[in-house]
């Protein structure tokens, strides 16, 4: 199915769609359809770009069919479905627009594969709000960076290289002197060592205990009476050190990754972080950054919000959008048998797995995807930013980048498939 026509070419300034940092300085070589990351790609980018694409065909229940028949079959499943669920949603802005249009038409529920993390943030935003900052602001201004429950690099490999240990900065002339703190456990803190060897400070803490630690820190900053007797000497020292640096930062940044705070009511921990940052802003400047929303997650939140009014977990079944961040999660919808067909979309990462479900499953995923069951329909799709142009939002939800095509693929795009299906319904 792969087209044989491959221009041999070096592509410069290529935006990488494989995490929500969207680094746009990659140099990619295309030699006879085989991609090689020549410059600036992290290991994740290399793994994705350089993965050899298997040549496979669309299938219905495992049997090879034409693309046309597969599309027809999808439209038949959706026509007879009362409550479809569109999830995964690993696609670009164009694909998301088509998804939402079809969801509106078919009365579907819409969710994203990473929405568990994204929803934690939304609950905080919808309850008390926050004070945020963006990547360029951090790169040029920050003098203190606190990572809570994340080391950034495990999920977003070039974070330190691009935004913390950058040589040039507009306002902070001594980026090497940036203070780095970690709060959490099992974090890779090595990237936090400054170019001239300054060690970061790590507050060892279970992720579910971060909220409590922050509450004590916040109270300490506020000068409230706090009972510190239960704290160990080490913890007390860390608390005082952190309190000192938070107060004396000129432009501090607090980073969390909602997807990595995987415990019940993690949104309350995020809220504690946000409320502390609000408090610090009474006397100095401080901003938050959330790291999350790979696989088009940040784009999905944005497109869903501007089109429906709600940031995902939206149900169009009554003819208008209804929002319930708990009931309309993919897990709950499947568990409660609220859907009778599932469309799972994943056009970036081959390692994502569609959930198993006892309903017809339509899989629009990268050709190397290996589901551990036989979906009713599987159409291998091409990847935005590799096989076709498009747009994605970055983790800060402000900047969106134009994706480029660096390879010619014989696989259809998610947008193409969904628009065809839409035309048949």
């Amino acid at each position: 199915m792969n087209s044989a026509k491959h221009p041999d070419k070096i592509h410069k300034e290529v935006p990488c769609p494989f995490c929500c940092l969207l680094c746009d300085d990659l140099v990619i070589q295309n030699r006879a359809g085989i991609l090689k990351v020549r410059e600036n790609g992290c290991s994740r980018a290399i793994a994705h770009y350089e993965q050899v694409q298997p040549e496979i065909q669309p299938t219905i229940k495992g049997k090879v069919v034409t693309l046309k028949d597969a599309i027809l079959h999808i439209s038949n499943i959706l026509k007879s479905s009362q409550h479809p669920l569109f999830s995964g949603l690993g696609t670009d802005v164009g694909g998301l627009r088509s998804t939402l249009q079809l969801a509106d038409k078919t009365g579907a529920i819409v969710d994203h594969m990473h929405s568990t993390g994204l929803t934690r943030n939304m609950l905080v935003l919808q309850d008390l709000g926050w004070m945020m900052t963006t990547l360029t602001e951090i790169k040029n201004h920050a003098d203190l960076i606190v990572f809570a429950g994340t080391d950034a690099v495990s999920g977003y490999p070039r974070f330190f290289e691009r935004f913390i240990w950058n040589k040039n900065a507009l306002f902070n002339k001594n980026t090497g002197g940036r203070k780095v703190f970690y709060i959490g456990e099992n974090l890779d803190t090595r990237p936090g060592i400054s170019p001239d060897g300054q060690q970061p400070v790590t507050v060892q803490c279970k992720h579910e205990d971060i909220g409590e630690f922050i509450a004590i820190l916040h109270a300490t900053l506020a000068g409230d009476k706090v009972n510190l007797e239960n704290l160990s000497g080490k913890r007390l020292k860390e608390l005082k050190l952190l309190a000192y640096h938070l107060t004396n930062a000129r432009y501090g940044v607090l980073v969390w990754a909602p997807g990595e705070m995987d415990f019940p009511h993690a949104e309350l921990t995020i809220q504690a972080l946000c409320e502390m940052v609000k408090f610090i802003n009474r006397s100095t400047r401080f901003g938050c950054l959330s790291l999350g929303g790979n696989d088009g997650g940040v784009s999905a939140v944005n497109v869903s919000t501007w089109q429906s009014g709600y940031p995902l977990r939206v149900n169009f079944n009554n003819g208008y959008p209804e929002y319930d961040p708990s009931r309309f999660s993919t897990d709950n919808v499947l568990k409660n048998n609220e859907a009778d067909a599932l469309v799972w979309i994943s056009s970036f990462d081959t390692n994502t797995r569609p959930p198993k479900a006892d309903i017809p499953v339509i899989l629009l995923a990268t050709p190397a995807t290996e589901p551990d069951f036989t979906p009713d329909v599987f159409i291998p799709v091409c990847t935005p930013g590799v096989d076709h142009a498009g747009y994605l939002f970055r983790t800060d939800s402000v900047v969106s980048l134009p994706l480029k095509q660096v390879r010619v693929s014989g696989y259809p795009s998610v947008k193409h498939i969904l628009d065809c299906v839409s035309g048949l319904i």
Partner: protein, 542 residues
């Protein structure tokens, strides 16, 4: 017919539409496909909103944070329209339908952050029917402030301003709290007109005059669009008067001036500055304004002015708010707010806006806005028009607000009632002229057939809420306040000239300091078309 650009004030005429445009009377041999009998009806060009926050990052944050706003106002899908939701911060489709249903055919997003421009255009692509445009925000961005601080040549600054308009696909330049959004990032909490930004050592006055000059030198039709210093601060009427002087006679548009017209008189140290402001506006023909009228009820304030939105967060209702520093470029603040008619301050804000409408003489220089959604959602325009056209209705409303506010206001003594001709000026002819939209806002041959037809009802609110017919580009898109056909509007942009040499400097700057490449920051014409929002219309510079 009311067509102020041609001086037509309530005359009976025929209009001919051909291929989306208004045309002269065709030869008798030409077959007319369709006739609309508009006897006894009021005909105006499609209305134009020059300042309405309809698309981009802060609007989307407002939507995200207010599910309660949307639950009460669901919009069901129909055979031809998409579903949506939202009262104060409606979804994109609902925004397009509601504007079109009210007879509005062009809307300008007033605060497009260059760093967020692509997002703004993507959202606006999903606003159907109406034409769109946007002002790019400058005056808090590092590149400009750096140039200003280092005394860079005027022509270089012009090149940069022009480059921004080209790169972000804008139709004008807006400045919000000049230098103040930047100053807030350096922990300054207020910035008066002659106070210096601590990092760059430049003042709002310098920023204003520099940008106003650049706008004029580039021939950008719309004057520099200014959201001044000290928004919402009691006593800011003095800042506003100083700002008018700071324009030094150059064209300048003062946005949502109601929020900048406050005195400090009285027991509560909060009073109306409308008389002073109106006097200054009347005396300075280089100044135009839009009002930013507040109307009572729940809304959400969304602004680039982080400094004052932060200060205002204590009044958030419900109690949640967002402040964001953005990309060494600008910022945004979103604070939900409820205006109460029984609050002295809110009631006085209501009277101040109306006083300004009635005291400013020249309808060509004052535009009807609520600074949607900051003062009220745009769907309250028909109510606002009735307040302007119907003195007894206005006085009835005045009698229901906070007693002391009503007592100190001069509103009750103002007899003026806007005529249909004046409404046509302030909502069509004047905005089109101010924006430089050549073929919009009038009904002469060559104009786009954006036409709104009303029943001549005594209740002006009912009349303006549901026009009988709305034509967009010659297509009948709404009938009796309901969408009957969905088309895509166009995006109006400018392409002022500039010396391409500036891109060299900018490329180096982006490579060193930004987190995206210069080429990716720039938006191509193709992108806007590819997003699906019809086509691009390049308006000409003067």
């Amino acid at each position: 017919m009311y067509d102020p650009i041609h001086g037509i004030n309530g005359e009976q005429r025929n209009i001919y539409i051909r291929d989306g445009f208004i045309t002269t009377k065709p030869a008798t041999s030409v077959r007319i496909d369709r006739n609309y009998d508009l006897n006894d009806m009021i005909i105006m060009a499609g209305a134009i909103d020059i300042h309405t926050h309809i698309g981009g990052g802060k609007v989307n944050i407002a939507r995200m944070m207010l599910p309660e706003d949307h639950r009460g106002d669901p919009v069901a899908r129909t055979a031809i329209t998409r579903s949506g939701s939202g009262y104060t911060a409606p979804s994109t489709f609902a925004t397009g339908y509601r504007y079109a249903e009210m007879g509005y055919t062009t809307c300008i997003e007033p605060a497009m952050l260059p760093a967020n421009a692509r997002h703004a255009h993507m959202e606006m692509a999903d606003i159907p029917i109406i034409d769109k445009g946007a002002y790019a925000l400058l005056g808090n961005d590092d590149f400009f402030l750096r140039m200003l601080a280092s005394g860079k040549d005027r022509s270089l600054i012009c090149d940069y301003v022009s480059w921004i308009i080209n790169a972000t696909k804008a139709i004008g330049i807006k400045v919000v709290n000049p230098g103040g959004i930047s100053a807030f990032k350096f922990n300054q909490r207020k910035l008066d007109l002659d106070e210096t930004n601590s990092h760059y050592g430049v003042t709002p006055r310098q920023i204003l005059i520099t940008l106003a000059r650049a706008v004029r030198e580039l021939g950008i039709p719309h004057p520099l669009h200014v959201h001044g210093c000290n928004l919402g601060v009691p006593g800011n009427l003095l800042t506003t008067l100083d700002t008018i002087r700071a324009a030094e006679g150059l064209p300048m548009h003062l946005a949502h001036i109601q929020f900048h017209s406050y005195g400090t008189e009285g027991d509560r140290k909060f009073s109306s500055g409308s008389a002073h402001i109106a006097e200054a506006v009347n005396a300075n023909s280089n100044i135009s304004i839009d009002v930013g009228q507040i109307l009572f009820g729940q809304t959400v304030t969304a602004s680039g002015d982080t400094m004052l939105q932060y200060a205002g967060h204590r009044h958030a209702h419900p109690n949640k708010w967002v402040i964001m520093d953005i990309e060494c470029d600008a910022g945004c603040g979103v604070v939900p707010f409820k205006y109460r008619d029984k609050s002295f301050v809110n009631a006085l804000q209501w009277t101040i806006g109306l006083e300004l409408f009635l005291l400013v003489n020249d309808p060509w220089r004052i535009f009807l806005t609520t600074d949607h959604p900051n003062g009220a959602p745009f769907t309250s325009y028909p109510h606002l028009i009735r307040l302007l056209m119907d003195r007894s209705f206005r006085n009835d409303m005045l009698s229901t607000i906070h007693k002391q506010a009503a007592a100190v206001s001069i509103l009750g003594s103002l007899d003026r009632e806007y005529s249909l001709y004046e409404i046509a000026i302030m909502t069509r002819a004047a905005p089109a002229r101010s924006l430089g939209l050549q073929n919009r806002g009038h009904l002469g041959a060559g104009a786009a057939a954006d036409i709104t037809v009303y029943k001549n009802l005594k209740n002006r609110e009912a009349m303006f809420a549901k026009p009988v017919y709305v034509f967009k580009d010659g297509e009948l898109v709404a009938r009796n306040g309901k969408i009957i056909k969905v088309i895509n509007g166009s995006t109006h942009i400018l392409k002022p000239e500039y010396d391409k040499g500036i891109e060299k400097t900018l490329k180096n700057y982006f490579d060193k300091y930004h987190t995206m490449k210069l080429d990716h920051f720039k938006i191509n014409d193709d992108e806007i078309v590819a997003h699906g929002n019809g086509n691009i219309i390049v308006q000409s510079c003067m």
